[in-house]
């Protein structure tokens, strides 16, 4: 993937660029808003990662400008600690995701992958989600694995729906907290693990090939048995 990184802090930029290059991505780095905006407007990228506070035009202005120019490249916005309340502002400007500093690299990697896989444009109105032998009927509110009907609680349903919309992707705990439960803070209980293990108990019966995979140090991934992991 070709990734544009707009970040003025050299250490952070070096850390992110190094990690992404090790993953096999091509990273273009701009250290100020002006260069970043120029690159974003003139060259094609798969994902743009931009800091919110930048010398020159800031992250919000860059996002507004490229959205005005009808460039639909997914944008991940980075922000300083404690700025979480500004999330909404970033998303309204046209950012696709938001990550507070400092973050674990695994978190950034998972989010960039999720953004890159996202079909461009608004998601098509699907009434049935399918993955392997797993089917979720959004209208009838039923989930089946093969012939077996799954009886899910509302929270488990929301969790599975999110995972099914991101098949094969590593989803971190923070992503689940933010996107499934709207939690913008770290809980002190293992709330994510509890729900994932409950869902897993209903989804993967003993003897069936497991569909939910735990990725150590990162999060979880849902995939059809035999395709990944």
């Amino acid at each position: 993937m070709r990734i544009l990184l707009i970040e003025d802090d050299e250490t952070t930029a070096g850390y992110i660029a190094k990690g992404l290059r090790e993953e096999g991505h091509v990273v273009d780095h701009a250290s100020n808003g002006r260069d970043g905006m120029f690159l974003a407007m003139s060259e094609p990228f798969d994902v743009i990662v931009t800091d919110r506070m930048l010398p020159g035009p800031d992250g919000l202005s860059i996002i507004r400008a490229i959205r005005l120019a009808e460039i639909a490249t997914p944008v991940l916005m980075l922000t300083a600690l404690g700025d979480v309340e500004k999330r909404v502002e970033g998303l309204e400007a046209g950012a696709d995701d938001y990550l507070g500093k400092p973050f674990a690299f695994a978190e950034l990697r998972a989010r960039i992958r999720a953004l890159a896989r996202r079909p461009s444009g608004p998601p098509a109105e699907q009434s049935v989600l399918g993955l392997g032998e797993l089917r979720m009927d959004l209208l009838q509110r039923t989930v089946t694995r093969g012939a077996r009907k799954l009886d899910l609680l509302p929270t488990e349903w929301r969790l599975l729906e999110f995972l099914m919309r991101h098949p094969g992707e590593v989803i971190t705990r923070t992503m689940l907290l933010e996107k499934v439960w709207d939690f913008s803070f770290d809980p002190t209980t293992n709330v994510v693990d509890v729900h994932v293990s409950r869902l897993r108990r209903k989804l993967d019966l003993p003897g069936e090939a497991p569909m939910i995979r735990t990725v150590r140090g990162a999060g979880y991934a849902l995939s059809a048995p035999g395709t990944e992991g």
């Binding site: 404690g82 400092p102 509302p154 709207d182 803070f185 002190t188 709330v191």
Partner: protein, 439 residues
């Protein structure tokens, strides 16, 4: 006498000057009008008298006229009457001044002792002249007397305005200087100082009240800021010192990949704890600063609490506890959904982490959110402290958490004009945390 330059005094001076000028103009105009009216009156009287004498002449001839003119002159009526021969000699009557033979009205200016006169002259058939005259002195006197009234009143009013202005300036000076003294005290660091009110509920008091509210906000913000700084100094220092010792120890030891990896992981865990405390502190500070209020929007509290309960019921079960709910439907308020959600989650997590096996979550109209458990509770004397930042009960030191959970709930309560109360649970056991919000 600083108030010589006061606004009130300047206003009074200007109005006094305007009053004086107006009264002088009024006086001239008054004199002019009065004199005109009096003269007209006089002319009518002269004409009437003259007409009487002319009729006399027509009836009795020059002789008869002369007799009655002399009689009139001896009677010393208000008017002077004289009859002149064609050569200008006075035949009968008298005038204070040597009369010229004339026709129609004329003014004779006074000289020395002799007064100014208003004279009406008419030629009699046969060549004589009848003169009727009036002394103008009373008319002038009356006009002058009338003309003097406005400047007298105006002068008095101007003087009064100056005195009142001086008094008002003094008062204003005193009130403003007490306000400015108080403001200076605040600037010098006494944030509890407020501007004094006079109790008269006038525009000064209203302005002062507004300023006092402003000072209150500044004080609250400064206290919150100071609190955050103190907290960071006290409570982030120890994990950071631990981290430093850890790094120093590892650096001094021999290089060993396994031990180094373990040490780095411990270091990261310490740092993550520091960062999460830091971010919780920033959130609390933000909630307490009141800036969230601008972003308040309608929040369906019933749905929010219900969803939180759904999320945490399995978590409580895994911890060997039960979470029971009594949630009144349809309760909404203006607020910050993210902050309220975190407050509710913190309360539930506190009960799951530190409370007894039975947890009750209630939402009642008010709106009041209650989380109750039948655990060991918090001793009455420690409840106040439990709400403060970084306070952790001794027995919970080993439990996860930053010690900021209840502090954030308290901040959320204040941000929504509400209160947070800790009390004993039902039957004097356990803990009941009551978060009351304002609609």
């Amino acid at each position: 006498m600083r108030h010589l330059s006061s606004f009130a005094l300047r206003a009074a001076t200007v109005s006094a000057a305007v009053m004086l000028v107006l009264s002088l103009l009024g006086s001239y105009w008054g004199w002019w009008r009065a004199e005109g009216a009096l003269r007209q009156q006089l002319d009518l009287a002269i004409a009437a008298e003259a007409e009487g004498f002319v009729r006399e002449f027509e009836e009795t001839g020059l002789r008869g006229l002369a007799i009655s003119v002399d009689t009139y002159a001896r009677r010393r009526g208000p008017l002077f009457v004289a009859v002149l021969a064609p050569d200008g000699r006075v035949i009968a009557g008298r005038l204070p001044q040597a009369p010229p033979p004339l026709r129609g009205f004329a003014n004779l200016p006074g000289t020395g002792e002799r007064p100014s006169l208003r004279v009406l002259g008419g030629t009699l058939p046969g060549g004589g002249t009848l003169l009727v005259a009036a002394d103008l002195t009373p008319v002038d006197k009356a006009a002058m007397a009338l003309a003097w009234t406005p400047p007298m009143a105006g002068g008095a009013a101007a003087l009064l305005a100056m005195i009142l202005g001086f008094v008002a300036a003094g008062r204003m000076e005193r009130r403003l200087s007490s306000a400015s003294d108080a403001a200076r005290d605040v600037m010098e660091g006494d944030l509890t100082r407020r501007l004094p009110l006079s109790g008269r509920d006038d525009e000064f008091d209203r302005l002062t009240e507004t300023f006092n509210v402003l000072l209150g906000r500044i004080e609250a913000l400064m206290i919150a800021q100071r609190q955050v700084t103190d907290d960071i100094a006290h409570d982030l220092r120890s994990p950071l010192s631990r981290l430093r010792q850890l790094l120093e120890g590892a650096l001094a030891g021999p290089r060993d990949p396994a031990a180094d990896a373990a040490m780095l992981e411990r270091g990261m865990a310490e740092l993550d704890a520091v960062l999460s405390s830091f971010s919780a502190l920033l959130r609390i500070a933000r909630a307490e600063s009141g800036v969230l209020r601008q972003g308040f929007s309608p929040v369906d509290l019933s749905v929010l609490v219900e969803t939180s309960a759904e999320i945490y019921t399995p978590v409580a079960e895994e911890a060997g506890k039960t979470l029971r709910t009594e949630i009144a439907p349809g309760i909404t308020l203006q607020g910050d959904a993210a902050l309220l959600r975190q407050a509710v989650v913190n309360l539930i997590e506190n009960a799951v982490n530190h409370g007894g096996p039975h947890i009750a979550l209630r939402l009642r109209p008010g709106p009041v959110i209650e989380v109750e458990d039948d655990g060991p509770g918090i001793p009455a004397e420690e409840r106040e402290a439990a709400i403060r930042r970084f306070h952790r009960l001794d027995r919970s030191r080993s439990m996860p958490g930053t010690g900021l959970g209840l502090a954030l709930v308290a901040a959320a309560a204040r941000a929504h004009d509400g209160t947070l109360v800790l009390e004993e649970g039902a039957g004097g056991r356990g803990l009941r945390v009551r978060l009351k919000l304002a609609l």
